[in-house]
């Protein structure tokens, strides 16, 4: 993985920086250069995604791509954040059997890919169960 590609996504992967259309209220993650249905970005304003939500759907990956070989089985889910935005990420610190659609989660900063012995480490977000006092207040 050449370093420029993940580097460019830092604001999104590290800080969940998105956009909100001030006309429709729709949220775009990642940010876009043109608001759908229009030909410019004038209505798109900076907006940070919330860091809590619930599981919308998920799957347990048993046959992984090579960069995740050592981590399988792992869970990938689509999380519906508290503002309605949906994002894809892994669900960590949780047995697959304990995950249900609707389970409350918190977004945490995690290492997503290691790229072997030599590569630049890719950090980003994962969802963890929202446990009062432990991962959330």
């Amino acid at each position: 993985m050449f370093p420029s590609r993940p580097w460019r996504e830092n604001p999104q992967r590290y800080r969940l920086e998105a956009q909100k259309c001030e006309k429709t209220g729709k949220v775009f993650f990642p940010p876009r250069l043109v608001a759908p249905g229009t030909l410019d970005a004038s209505t798109l304003k900076p907006y940070n995604l919330p860091e809590d939500g619930e599981v919308y759907t998920f799957t347990v990956i048993e046959v992984p791509p090579s960069q995740f070989k050592d981590e399988a089985p792992y869970t990938v889910g689509i999380i519906e954040l508290s503002d309605g935005t949906k994002i894809t990420c892994q669900i960590a610190d949780c047995e697959p059997d304990d995950i249900k659609i609707g389970m409350k989660v918190k977004i945490e900063f995690r290492r997503v890919q290691t790229h072997g012995e030599h590569g630049v480490l890719s950090y980003g977000f994962k969802a963890v169960p929202a446990i009062p006092g432990v991962t959330t207040v």
Partner: protein, 385 residues
């Protein structure tokens, strides 16, 4: 715009074709289709292939395949829309003929997927998803469809067994297809206990890795009459649509909007409704895909695709036979070729030449070819002239 018809079809036997290269398979299928049509020249060629570059390091195949077909000088175009590349090649050929620019075009598709490791093939296929926001997090194609399946089960009560019915039916049909990769039947039990790939998608819910090529010859109706003894199969409508590439961007995970939109566009152009369709080939890359597609094409109410799969209505002899060829599941899925092979099957059905896969009295057929997790779809409607 002129009327356009398919006048010839060809494909090699699909599978792990160790002895053939990408160009070998394409030429084999192309020659079969040219012979079937009885034409002696082409005005142009469209080839659908998802990623010959990643699979075998070869791009520029529009040129290469014209060369290897012995037709250097021919305008050759490679088109790509992930797994809908074949459908896109056909649509492109149809438009060039309909416009009056050309009279005889070959629309083909090819993918050579076994000259690399399984991991490399998986990586290549994953390029059809959102690299930075889906694949980066470890989502795989079976994983994306598994997430759709889980949502479909949650919203509509679709069951694990209903998913298996799709695989069983398609293998039953594929067992009768001499070109299929896996021409044998499977059982419900066998599907539901096969190795888990991405919960709930098991290995027998997933279409395989396949080498294969398929070609059809498309001509305007006047030219068709000059060349062919076979009944011409007219393409009366087509529809092409895209959707958000990432699942999480879509309003619903249980509705394939690109399929719905492409279907509506095709029905409108053909002046047809879902109930007019006698036989169809749909994109069963995963069992759940067939269930959602038959809803989104209007054959079943939204949410009823599962019970539909279980009911026998989609079997040969049922209300709306789906995937008489064996579908992607049993026939195989050499990515760029699939859309063309669907046209091969529907043409064969409408000509009455499908043997023990024949749908009695089939007059109107439909092909639905989908890319990635539904980010693009091309639908064609065909009728006997």
């Amino acid at each position: 715009m002129r009327d356009v018809a398919i006048i010839g079809v060809g494909m090699n036997k699909w599978g792990e074709v160790w002895e053939s290269t990408l160009r070998d398979m394409f030429v084999e299928a192309a020659l079969e289709s040219i012979k079937d049509a009885g034409v002696d020249h082409l005005d142009g060629m469209y080839v659908g292939s998802m990623t010959p570059g990643l699979f075998v390091g070869q791009e520029h195949i529009g040129s290469m395949l014209a060369d290897y077909l012995g037709m250097k000088g021919l305008p050759g175009t490679r088109v790509e829309s992930a797994c809908a590349s074949g459908g896109l090649a056909l649509k492109s050929a149809v438009l060039e003929i309909a416009s009056g620019h050309s009279d005889i075009i070959l629309a083909g598709g090819v993918e050579k997927m076994t000259d690399c490791s399984g991991d490399d093939a998986t990586y290549a296929l994953a390029t059809a998803a959102d690299q930075e926001y889906e694949v980066f997090h470890g989502a795989t194609f079976p994983g994306l469809y598994a997430m759709m399946a889980r949502r479909h089960m949650h919203e509509f009560g679709t069951t694990r067994e209903q998913l298996a019915h799709v695989a069983v039916k398609n293998h039953k049909n594929g067992a009768k297809n001499p070109k299929a990769q896996y021409p044998f039947e499977v059982t419900l039990e066998g599907v539901m206990t096969s190795v888990m790939v991405a919960d709930p998608m098991r290995i027998l819910d997933c279409s395989p890795i396949t080498d294969g090529a398929a070609c059809v010859i498309v001509a305007d109706l006047e030219t068709a009459k000059k060349y062919t003894n076979n009944p011409a199969v007219k393409i009366t409508g087509f529809g092409h649509a895209t959707d958000n590439i990432a699942l999480h961007s879509r309003d619903s995970l249980t509705c394939l909007e690109a399929t719905k939109l492409a279907g509506e566009r095709a029905y409108k152009m053909a002046g047809r409704k879902p109930e007019d369709i006698d036989v169809c080939e749909v994109h069963d890359c995963f069992t759940i895909a067939e269930i959602m597609v038959i809803e989104d094409l209007g054959f079943f109410e939204k949410g009823k695709g599962g019970t539909g799969a279980e009911s026998g209505e989609t079997h040969i002899g049922g209300r709306i036979p789906v995937n008489t060829s064996g579908g992607l599941k049993s026939k195989g899925h050499p990515v760029g070729a699939t859309g063309i092979a669907q046209a091969y099957e529907i043409t064969t059905q409408l000509r009455g030449e499908a043997g023990d896969r024949q749908v009695e009295g089939a007059k109107v057929g439909l092909c639905q070819n989908m890319g990635g997790s539904g980010g693009s779809t091309v639908v064609h409607i065909m009728e006997v002239v």
